[in-house]
């Protein structure tokens, strides 16, 4: 399954879901000529149409134009010092996707535990988990950096900049 096909399919699903949701918007006595459903409906139809074009183009390239499909888009790019190190290059490896999902889950876990554990402990956990997950060897230094980093962030944001952060259950226990 190529990327255009996958992105087209995902967008088609989104457009159908979005269109269905527009039908749930109630009618209003105050509605204007277009109404609250007007443009969202148009967006959904346009996205659906473009998704079908992308899917069709992807299938067409795969089944009918395969021998001629080596356009500049699909051809390997020249291996130059500049182009291969800029961030615009596509991430292709499945390992990269797996790592991204793991990193995202660490963030989700932080959101889940911070109302209970509070900012400093949760952030220390996030720092430790990210450092470990990104491949650092776990040792005393990682633990110290994680805890010190969380305390530093608390001092910087909460004490110095007066930006509130979740305090967790600790105030109620003390």
């Amino acid at each position: 399954m190529d990327r255009d096909f996958a992105f087209g399919t995902a967008s088609l699903v989104i457009s159908v879901g979005y269109y269905w949701t527009t039908t749930l918007i109630p009618e209003s006595q105050l509605a204007d000529v277009i109404g609250p459903r007007g443009l969202p409906t148009m967006y959904a139809l346009l996205l659906g149409g473009l998704s079908l074009i992308l899917i069709g183009r992807s299938l067409g390239v795969r089944f009918w134009l395969k021998p001629a499909a080596t356009t500049a888009e699909s051809r390997p790019q020249p291996d130059t010092a500049v182009s291969d190190k800029t961030r615009s290059k596509p991430r292709t490896s499945k390992d990269g996707a797996r790592r991204a999902v793991g990193t995202l889950l660490i963030g989700c876990l932080y959101v889940a535990v911070v109302p209970w554990l509070g900012y400093v402990m949760s952030l220390a956990g996030l720092l430790f988990a990210t450092i470990w997950y990104q491949g650092a060897v776990v040792n005393r230094q990682v633990v110290i950096v994680s805890v010190a980093g969380a305390v530093f962030c608390w001092v910087l944001f909460v004490l110095l900049m007066r930006i509130p952060q979740p305090s967790g259950l600790w105030p109620s226990l003390l």
Binding site: P36, L39, Y43, A81, S88, R99, L104, L127, C153
Partner: protein, 491 residues
Amino acid sequence: VIGALTSIFTTAIGPAAFAGVAWGILGGALPGISPSITMALLLPFTYGMDPTVAVVLLASTYVGAEYGGSIPAILIRTPGTNAAAATVIDGYAMKEQGKAGEALGISLYSGLVGGLFGLVMLVLLTKPLSTVALAFTPTSYFALGVLGLSVIASVSGESLIRGLMAGLLGLMIATVGTDPVTGLNRFTFGSPELLSGIPSILVMVGLFAIGELLAQSGEANLPSPAATARIRFPNAALWRRLARPQAIGSLMGTLEGVMPGGGGTISAFLAYNEARRWSRHQEEFGKGSPEGIAAPEAANNTVACTALVPMLSLGIPSSNSSAVLLSGFLMHGLVPGPMLFVKSPDVINGLFAGLLTANIAMVIVGYVIMTPCLWLVNRPKPYLMAFIYAFVVSGVYSVEASLFHVGLALGFGALGFAMRFFRVPLLPMVLGVMLGFMVESNYRRALTLASGDALIFFRDPISAVLLGIAALVVTASLLRHLGHRAASVNS
């Protein structure tokens, strides 16, 4: 002008400009952290600040990041920002000859020249546009929004369809919340947090900062630069020699900066090519020519100012960085566009004064910060990523003390990663999010005022002109797109 200059010393604008430049240089020097990401990381923390100080801080970050990108470009052959890619060619060659300090000095000095030229152009080009402010009606604002959306055609990269789809997804995101005309709730799924819509700051931080963080998590470590490097500024003879490439770079930066979809990267390469064409030392290009650094660095620092012309005067972001800055304006209740000059001239003057300070600060801070900058760039990647992650979650929470928002930003981060994976450009989606509300609300108001007569958009002279320009932008982009496609098939 006097008021603006005085404000540098009487308000927090001066310190904000210095702080923004320092943060920008540090962010720009980290390979993988672009100016827009550096600005997005800072964005949530500006929430409680005075609006003028906040926009100066963000704009100064942009200025600093453009220089910061040249540091790894020169030292480790890896551009810190895309715009610094052209600097790699001669910058790294000079470093190989043991002239890293000279190369960094040329980059810094040329950045100053380009930045100051860009600021003059920004002041000259944006002020006259404020005179048409009072003539704008809902019809004109709708046409302005369409003009902004037409930029999607030129920023869609290799696939126009994917760009259009990203733009539509952005427009869809902009419909979440309370309907601007009837007050009905749309796409909120019963969540009170979504009643006021999805704040653009969450989209920015998610797509740019978290999305890039997730993408970087699968990337290999980059080589580390030398632990020390000392900047050496050019002498008088070199100063004279660099005048021509700097002029070329400044001109290219101005042209590309004000154009929709133009940016530092394109202008830097154009400036490099033109500087080589007009140089008396063409044979040195590619082998460590000082002119090969001066032209692109002047160009991308000019763009840091001139890219604000369409953003300030029309409310249209033409690059990722100006989109983040636009989000900063919106977060403080400032709506860039013609009326900003009428309603908030103090912010505009403060921004100009801040940019002047930022460009001067770039030289001072750039010189002083080199050692801590190299220390930071040399940190192991897992530690850098962990602290960036910590800053992101802390910053997003601070906006409205909402964990729902942190979750939403993580969701947009996942979307940003998926878009990078599927090679879908981010800027069209950002344009959709930014302009969606303006387009829909003004379209419906204009039609209501005209009793449903759609021809009103062509009878209003401002609207007709703006729609005509939008049509030209789309046509030119389509022709260029078709030309590139035909060329790639032929080759």
